[in-house]
Amino acid sequence: MGCGTSIAVENQTHPSETAIKAAILIQRWYRRYVAHLEMRRRYTWNIFQSIEYAGEQDQLQLSSFFSFMLDNFTHMNGNGPDLISHLLDSVVDPLTEEVRQLKYEQIVVPESYCGPRLSFPLSVTDTNALLSAFKEEQTLHGKYVLQLLYETKKFLKQMPNIIYLSTSYAKEITICGDLHGRLDDLLLIFYKNGLPSAENPYIFNGDFVDRGKKSTEIIIILFAFLLLYPDHMHLNRGNHEDHIMNLRYGFTREVMQKYKTHGREMLQLLQDVFSLLPLATVIDNKVLIVHGGISDKIDLDFLSTVERHKVKSALRLPKRSVDHLNVHANIRSSSRQSGRSRLDSPCSSGRTSRASRRRKKHITKQGSCSSSSSSSSSSSSVCSPRVSSRNTSRRPPPSPSLPSPTDVLQVPFLDSFVSLEPPEPPRDELERQQVVDILWSDPKNQSGCSPNSFRGGGCYFGPDVTQALLQKHGLCLLIRSHECKQEGYELCHNGQVITIFSASNYYEEGSNRGAYVKLGPELVPRFFQYQVSRSTRKLTLHQRVCVAEGSALRALKEKLYAHRSDLMAAFQQYDIDNTGRISTSEWAQVVESVLRLDLPWRTLRPRLARLGADGNVEYESCFEDISPGEPIPPVTPNLAETLYRYRTDLEIIFNIIDKDHSGQISIEEFRQTWKLFSSHLGVAVNDQTIDDMARSIDFNKDGSIDFNEFLEAFRVVHKLVIKEQQQG
């Protein structure tokens, strides 16, 4: 059925028959064109997802670094400014509730402030004022934020873990998924679907913050409506309502940048507020709504008895670090026998998802590069603050040179003074597992329940697990969020699970739609999709694909750049004759194994590297049009690469060291940090290089480094972008 015949030749056929043939030709051609675009859209999506997963994997690495730091606590003592003791400096914050409330009331708001002035209890005037203000890009004064957070905390304390709602009065309930700081999406939802009210109830299913730039505005709006309509506005906790996650994914930084005076106090309050958010909502005793998912251990009756506020963060120290420090006499070395020992076991072989394949590879790699991490690389482990309700008295800070004589380890985070209990009694452990499962699990298509060792908590649950849980509690539907979907929503497990995701263009302009779902008394879900667009003119399919693809490819090229040395070494192994070229297969193989991203490399090759005249890949061409920004002289390429690769981690560590969030740390602190980090990574960097670098970063020679400038220097610049800017 070839199409090689010319149409014009058939002059004896009736004109309209020729026209029909022409139409078919055009249709066939167009469909092929669209398919080609769809292919590009699809692999663009794969790229974004792979990089995101890889980023999450990096988080485990950061956790192991913290463990490493604590393990080496004693070695650091007396060795110049002691990083660890620096972290262990105490900070005072012992306000009682009444004092706190008074303090906020007394904050003076200047006359010149023209933003909303809230008065409690809130009214519709206040919420309208907030919405208008945020549309105009105004910032709410810190005083009102503090008051709002304080009132929200008080309110949430009386809430149960699971909220039961009903769709009586023929009301439809609207359920929204992840927003991740995307204010435009929230405003679009309110525009399309109306503001929350008694006639228009809403459930927001977690992950309000992080990644997007307007997380603060989002939670202000959500909490304000929560206080205004307590019976018609409901918020579930997401895995990003967690201050450790916020440290990494941007919310902490956003708060500190917007609120220089009151930011730290807000973050402290938020720790409590987040942990007090309810974990689940049930509609008509038929529909369960949680942020992540479920596991085979979840029991709603047990879940309702859990002390949810105790789980401030899903991430915490591994047990062995606590033991190593040997600072408490009371620690029992009994292992955590209760509930889930599965967190320590590698992922099961049953899973075949793409992500799990990647994770398998990652975990073995992880184990080899970190000398101090045990098999618990699969468990999430970061210095954790968990406030114990038993610890009410303040303890004196440990002196730098002695291990703490007390029986708990104080680990301040952003100057909040919390303590880490020794290994929990079994019940607490079980409770924690329930919470982590609810917030972190993902559905999978194969049966069974296996540890989500990739995310570091929760599990992958199959259709059988869903079926079992729904049956156990007489439910018919599970609505969850937590995963970005191209169409904003997705059904799985024979329609028993709905994923709803409300941040459109999550990866990039045009990458995906957002959606919300409405449920009426008959409990039949109705989906509504939308997509926020920067431009008012509707982009064509081609344009949308190009924008998203461009962004994904840039991100991929940055990855290539960050691993340049390793890649070149591997390429050269295949290129024995030093021709500068290797076959496409070889190229694809190298890139896949070094970057550890499971992507269709052969399909992507034309966008990433050039072919030589002989049809082989000129491998160095994949590093073209990428170069570092103004480099800090003099740095070896290897160092630049490493710094670039770990810049996110460095940023987090710096954020912790820079306790007053001034953006400056001392040169000595920088040296120590970098030395520690690079020795942990096993990267050989000599002292002289670090010193040179530290000195050259300190441009004004005042002994302190503006590390934002420092990081800026290692931001990768695309030559193409520069060219455009020069021409544009």
Binding site: C3, G4, I7, A23, N445
Partner: protein, 154 residues
């Protein structure tokens, strides 16, 4: 022998291309794709089948009891054959230009959106409204509100 080597290489390279394209749509990484994506995969590999052609191919690829999924083991040999036999060969630019010229009965040098819509949504293997809208949004010159088809080609 040189010939055999290059033949084998061609087959291997072809199969790798097929595998790559297949993987892009294999969401669960279990070597299956949704049957509704088969058309996209085949087309993205450079083929220009008609809807009728696709219908036949899919019938061949589906299981005895249709599951809605196509397995890689079945897809690979079928697709390899299609590519090696160069079925559904590309439509050249000349041909496409001729096709537009045929539809432009009055030889105006351009097409009205209504004209094109009429042909493409009523004749041949008709476009859906969505397909038509999408094509128009890309093809119609916003100032003159016509389709300057000659501009598509160099």
């Amino acid at each position: 022998m040189a010939d055999k080597y290059s033949a084998d290489t061609i087959i291997t390279e072809t199969q790798k291309r097929i595998s790559n394209a297949f993987d892009v749509f294999d969401h669960e990484s279990n070597k299956t794709v949704d049957v509704r994506e088969i058309g996209t995969i085949i087309r993205s590999l450079g083929c220009f089948p008609s809807e009728a052609d696709l219908h036949d191919i899919i019938a061949e690829l589906e299981e005895e009891e249709p599951t809605g999924f196509v397995r890689y083991e079945k897809f690979l040999p079928t697709m390899t054959k299609i590519l090696l036999e160069r079925k559904f060969r590309p439509i050249t630019e000349d041909l496409l230009l001729q096709a537009f010229e045929v539809l432009d009965q009055q030889k105006k040098g351009h097409l009205e959106p209504e004209e094109l819509t009429k042909y493409l949504t009523q004749e041949g293997e008709p476009f859906t409204q969505e397909e038509m809208d999408e094509m128009l949004s890309a093809a119609v010159d916003p100032d003159k509100n016509v389709i300057l088809y000659k501009d598509f080609f160099h």
